[in-house]
C-alpha cells in the first residue's frame, strides 16, 4: 500500500465543520441492509430498490481498476464508510426553514448570496441530502424542473425512468456501480423544448461528516432546442481519515439542445473523488463540460460525450491542479457515433511539489462515419522538479473522411521567470499564482465571471500553501 505524505495545504475556504445532529444514519459499512435502510428512508419505489441491489451485486463482483489506475485506490476501506446521513429527505424551499446548524455552513460558503446575485436556481446538498432547493419563480413558470434526484423519481417518473441509468449503465465501472447502489441527492433537471434558461442553475455539494461517502446522482435532460448552464461547486473539511465522493452525472441533450456543465471542485486533501460523467448528444445538440479539479487526494474523472446524432458536438475543457501529495487523474472521452460530429478536448494540468497529473483521453471515430473531427490539446505545467505528469491518449479513428488532431506540451515555470516577476516587487507566491493563472487564462475566459474569480482565488490559495 502506498503511504501519503502529510497533506497540509491551506484550504481555508472549506476547511471548517460544525457538529450536526443527523436524524437518519445508515451506520458504517455496506450491505443489502444499508440499501434497505436508504430505500426505507427515501420511500423508494420497488424498481429502484431492485436497481440498487442489482448494482450492489455488480459492485461486489467487479475488481478495482488498479491494473491501470493508481494503487492508492486500495486504501479505500469500503466497510469503514458511512453511506447515508441526513436530517431528513425533504429539502427546504426557503433558507429560513433550513436548520441553523446546516444553514450557517452554506452561509459561510456564500451560497445564499450567490443565489441572490446571479443564479436561476440553487440546490445545496449537505452530506446525503439537499438541505435547500429552489428555483426562481420565472424559471419554474417556463416549465423547468430543478429538484433533487429522489423528488425527480417520485414526482416525474415518466421522464426520470426513461433516461436514468441509460447514459451510464450501472456496470460501467466499479464506482458507477457503487453510486447506483447507494445514490442519494444530486439534481434532476428537465428543460422543456425551446426553453433557454438565461441564468445558471447551481448545485453545491458539501461533505460535513467524517468517514463519509457522498454519492449524488445527477440527471439533466434538455429537450429539443433548449439551453441550460449548470454549475456545481464542492468542498469538504479536512479530516484525518479519508472521505469518498463518487457521483454519477448523466446528461441528455435532445435535438438541437445545448448543455453546459461547469464544475469547480475544491475538495480537501483527504477526499477520494471518483466520478463518472457522460452526456448523450442527439442531432445538432451540443454538450460542453468545463471541469476544474483542485484539491482532493485522488481524483479520477473523464467526462465524456457520446455524439449520437448527426452534427452533434462535444467539448471538454479541463483544468487540473495537483498540489503536494495529490493526484489528478483526469481526461475526456469522445465517442463519435454519427456523421459530421465534432469534438474538442482542451486539458491543462498543473503539478506542484510532489503533485501528479495524469491525462487520459479516449477518442473514437468509427469506420462507417464521414466528416467527423476531433481536436485534442493537452498542456502540462510543472512547478519544481518532484512533480510528475503523464499523458495517455487513446485515439481510434477509422474511415477515410475523418480528421483528428492531437497536440501536447509540457512546460515549466522557470526560476528566471519567478526572479523576473519578483524583481517587479511581486512575492514568490503571487508570482507563481500569476504564472499559473496565465497558463490557464485562455480557458478561464470561457467561464462565467463569478466562477473565474473563484477559480483564481483557489489557485492563489494553493500557491500560498505551496510556497509556505
Amino acid at each position: 500500500m502506498e503511504t501519503k505524505p502529510d497533506l497540509n495545504i491551506d484550504r481555508s475556504i472549506g476547511d471548517f465543520h460544525y457538529d450536526v445532529d443527523y436524524e437518519f444514519d445508515a451506520g458504517i459499512g455496506l450491505s443489502e441492509k444499508t440499501i434497505d435502510y436508504i430505500c426505507d428512508v427515501k420511500k423508494d419505489p420497488d424498481w429502484i430498490r431492485e436497481f440498487r441491489k442489482e448494482a450492489l451485486r455488480k459492485f461486489n463482483s467487479m475488481p478495482m481498476p488498479t491494473n491501470w489506475a493508481s494503487h492508492d485506490l486500495d486504501n479505500i476501506v469500503f466497510q469503514n464508510i458511512r453511506y447515508y446521513l441526513s436530517q431528513g429527505t425533504e429539502p427546504k424551499r426557503s433558507w429560513d426553514d433550513v436548520p441553523e446548524d446546516v444553514k450557517r455552513t452554506f452561509e459561510r460558503l456564500g451560497i445564499p448570496e450567490q443565489e441572490r446575485k446571479f443564479l436561476a436556481g440553487v440546490e445545496a446538498q449537505f452530506d446525503s441530502e439537499a438541505a435547500y432547493s429552489n428555483i426562481k419563480a420565472a424559471v419554474g413558470e417556463q416549465g423547468v424542473i430543478f429538484v433533487g434526484s429522489t423528488e425527480g423519481l417520485h414526482k416525474h417518473p415518466e421522464i426520470f425512468k426513461k433516461w436514468f441509468g441509460k447514459v451510464i449503465p450501472t456496470g460501467d465501472n466499479k464506482f458507477s456501480a457503487l453510486n447506483s447502489a447507494v445514490f442519494s441527492g444530486g439534481s434532476f433537471i428537465y428543460i422543456p423544448p425551446g426553453v433557454k434558461v438565461k441564468h445558471p442553475l447551481q448545485a453545491y455539494f458539501r461533505i460535513n461528516a467524517e468517514n463519509f461517502g457522498q454519492f449524488e446522482r445527477t440527471l439533466i435532460i434538455a429537450d429539443e432546442g433548449s439551453e441550460v448552464m449548470y454549475m456545481e461547486g464542492c468542498t469538504a473539511p479536512k479530516f484525518e481519515t479519508s472521505t469518498l465522493h463518487s457521483a454519477v452525472v448523466e446528461l441528455v441533450a435532445l435535438k438541437g439542445a445545448k448543455i453546459q456543465y461547469i464544475t469547480v471542485q475544491n475538495w480537501s486533501a483527504n477526499v477520494f473523488n471518483l466520478v463518472t460523467k457522460r452526456g448523450l448528444a442527439h442531432e445538432e445538440a451540443e454538450i460542453k463540460w468545463i471541469d476544474c479539479n483542485i484539491g482532493s487526494r485522488l481524483t479520477m474523472k473523464y467526462p465524456g460525450v457520446i455524439m449520437k446524432g448527426r452534427k452533434a458536438r462535444g467539448e471538454v475543457i479541463s483544468i487540473a491542479l495537483a498540489g503536494d501529495g495529490q493526484h489528478q487523474d483526469t481526461g475526456a472521452k469522445m465517442v463519435h457515433a454519427a456523421d459530421e460530429t465534432t469534438s474538442n478536448i482542451v486539458s491543462k494540468s498543473i503539478s506542484l511539489g510532489s503533485g501528479r497529473s495524469t491525462y487520459r483521453g479516449l477518442v473514437q471515430i468509427g469506420r462507417h462515419l464521414k466528416g467527423c473531427k476531433n481536436n485534442t490539446e493537452c498542456d502540462a505545467l510543472l512547478i519544481n522538479t518532484e512533480s510528475r505528469t503523464d499523458t495517455y491518449p487513446a485515439i481510434t479513428v477509422r474511415g477515410k473522411e475523418n480528421a483528428c488532431q492531437h497536440e501536447a506540451s509540457v512546460s515549466k515555470i522557470s526560476a528566471e521567470q519567478i526572479f523576473y516577476m519578483q524583481q517587479r516587487g511581486i512575492s514568490k507566491a503571487a508570482a507563481m499564482s500569476l504564472a499559473v493563472n496565465g497558463f490557464v487564462n485562455d480557458l478561464v475566459q470561457q467561464f462565467p465571471m463569478e466562477y473565474s474569480v473563484e477559480l483564481k482565488r483557489l489557485i492563489d490559495l494553493e500557491m500560498e500553501g505551496s510556497v509556505g
Partner: protein, 252 residues
Amino acid sequence: MSLKIENLHANIGDREILKGLNLEIPKGEVHAIMGKNGSGKSTLAKVMAGHPDYEVSIGQVLLDGLNLFEMEEPDQRARTGLFVAFQYPMEVPGVTIANFIRAALQARLPEGEELDAVEYYHHLYEKMDMLKIDRKFTSRAVNEGFSGGEKKRCEILQMAMLNPVYAVLDETDSGLDIDALRIVSEGVNAMRGPERGLLVITHYQRLLDYIVPDVVHVMVDGRIVMSGDKTLAHKLEAEGYDWVEKEILQQA
C-alpha cells in the same frame, strides 16, 4: 541619499565575477557603466536585484542606507525602490501586461487595500502614450512574441509605472533601431529628477547621446577602474578599451 555599492564580490559557481566593486550613485544623478563583454556589467545588475544564481561573498549595497543584502527575496528589494530593466526580459505566458503591472503595484499597497482600477488604467495609458506604445498592448502577454524593441519599451513602461527610487538599465539600447532608441531614451529622461538615481549599463556610447550621464564609469574584470564625465564615453568610443587596460597596468 544614494545607491552605494561597497567592495562587492560575487560569484557564480566557483567563478568570481565581481571582484571588489565600488560605486556610488547619489540621488538625482545619472551614471553610466561602460565595459567590454564579460566585464561583469550585467552581473552587477542581477546581483543587486537578488538573482538566485549568484552568491555574494563580500561587500554590501546600501539603498539610501538600507542594506539590500539583508533582504533575502528579490521582491523585498524591489519594493524598497530598486528596479532593473533587463537586457533579456523574460516572457510570462498568458499574463497580460496590464495584469502584470497591476499585480506589481498591488504588491506595494498595504494588506487589505485595493488598487483603484480606473485610476490605474488612466495612469497606464498616460505612460503608454509617452512611450508610443499601442493601447492594444495591454492585453498582450508580457514579452511573449515581442520584438526586441517592444521588450525594451515594455521594460521602460514598467519602470515608469513602478516609480523606483533607483533604476538600473541593463543594455537598454541593444536591439533598438534609431527611432525606438529615441523614444525609449525620452521615456528614461522623463524619469530623471532629484528624487531618483539612474544607472545606465551600456556597451556603446550611442545611448549616451540620448541619455546624457553625469558620470561615466569604466568596468574591467569586475571592478570600476576609471570614472569621468561624459567625454570619457566619447574617448572609449573613439579609442576602444585597450588604453584603459594599459593605463591600469601602468598604475599597478
